[in-house]
């Protein structure tokens, strides 16, 4: 009975939001806006739940016999200090900004740098794992774009700049458009399945 109520609410709200998007009937448009505001509030609350979930998982790990418990303790300390500073002084106070500029950004920057190395390694591994034409074209394209994006010691290879522009304008756009069309159709299908109650991520499947 409870599952039936969930499904009925999801279908009704989904229909109001969808129809309110296409038909400019005042009552429907206003109802749609109210429902979207509620959804935004719920997402904000879910973010808070997410933080609590993160904290509880790492609390459990830090109190267990886990070999990586030091990482969990570091996460909990960092979270408590950041929440304390930003909560007490405000998010735009110099102390909060110091944490953001001198801890968060350098750590994420380091991960980005690691990612660059990981991607080069992944490219090499791709050729070993799938040595086919598609992989070769993929790697060759990446190399051409990389070569022409940065300065090449002042050397100008004739035709490479034009090739890069052509790749960016023709095959890359065509491929991206094809992929995005598939993705868009997939999104519509996923939305409609929820709208008719065939998929129930809120429980009761």
């Amino acid at each position: 009975m409870r599952n039936l109520a969930y499904t009925a609410i999801a279908i009704a709200v989904g229909l109001v939001v969808l129809v309110g998007y296409f038909l400019q009937i005042e009552l429907l448009v206003n109802l749609r806006l109210v429902l979207l505001e509620w959804a935004t509030l719920l997402v904000a609350v879910a973010l808070l739940v997410g933080v609590i979930n993160l904290l509880s998982v790492h609390w459990r790990k830090s109190t267990s016999d886990n070999s990586n418990r030091v990482n969990s303790i570091a996460l909990i300390v960092a979270m408590v200090v950041t929440l304390g500073v930003a909560g007490f002084f405000g998010p735009t106070h110099p102390y909060s900004l110091w944490i953001f500029n001198y801890i968060q950004i350098p750590i994420e920057g380091s991960l980005m740098a690691i990612l660059a190395v990981v991607l080069i390694y992944a490219g090499v591994r791709l050729l070993r794992r799938k040595p086919n034409l598609l992989s070769i074209v993929f790697i060759a394209t990446a190399v051409v774009i990389l070569l022409m994006t940065g300065p090449l010691f002042g050397i100008d290879i004739p035709g490479l700049a034009e090739l890069r522009i052509w790749i960016g304008k023709v095959p890359a756009v065509a491929g991206a458009r094809g992929i995005l069309l598939g993705v868009s159709l997939g999104i519509v299908a996923a939305g409609l399945r929820i709208l008719i109650g065939a998929d129930r991520p809120y429980g009761g499947n």
Binding site: F22, N53, L54, L119, F138, V183, G191, I194
Partner: protein, 247 residues
Amino acid sequence: MNSLDLLGLIFVGIFFGLMITSAVLLRQREGLILREISAFARLQRAIGLAVEAGSRLHISLGRGNLLSTQSGIGYVGLSILGRIARSTSISDRPPIATSGEGTLGILSQDTQRDAAKNLGVEFDPVRGRITGLSPYSYSAGTLSLIEEEDVGANMLIGSFGSEVGLITEAAERSESMTLGGTDNLSGQAVLFASAQEPLIGEETYAGGAYLGVGPMHIASLYAQDILRWVLIGLIVIGAIIKLLGSL
């Protein structure tokens, strides 16, 4: 209502009609054959192995906000999570889901709780984890989980950017299988290079149909295929008309 809104409404109406028609027609047909996607065949083997060998399956749902267009891929990930949870929750090491967004985290727990309840087994909320709330913190949290939990196979179905490369690298190092699909173009490029079984474009959205989530997933796959061919036809006709016009 302007003409664009009308066109959108008609498109959604046609899509819905095709889905329902396909569902009705499919009910009368038996022995349905879907195009083979090696990634899903390999995943089904990995699910079987996980139950037998006691290794864990990891489903990464990404960071898709459920109020944006990224919600579509998030829902696909949740459907697949539900299907896998129903198949493997009775094993010694039930699947674990990670996400980088609050609502997805809650829904991943709900989906697994539902599957556990149906199977009459206990559910541990830690199986639906939020590992980080920014792209890189999410990746960092997930890669440590892959090492710690002795994961046998990873399914990355959700909204990821290029940071997904860190997760696939961790999976490669732990010698576990990786299947990945996303709605993000840079994420797709990274997954193509780094995942063992990448899913391109609409293949990701076909996961439910291939894993037997429900008949409506197959019906919607048919509707997608029909509409894709219609769109391809319209694009080709438009290009020919433009070409003829410029002559």
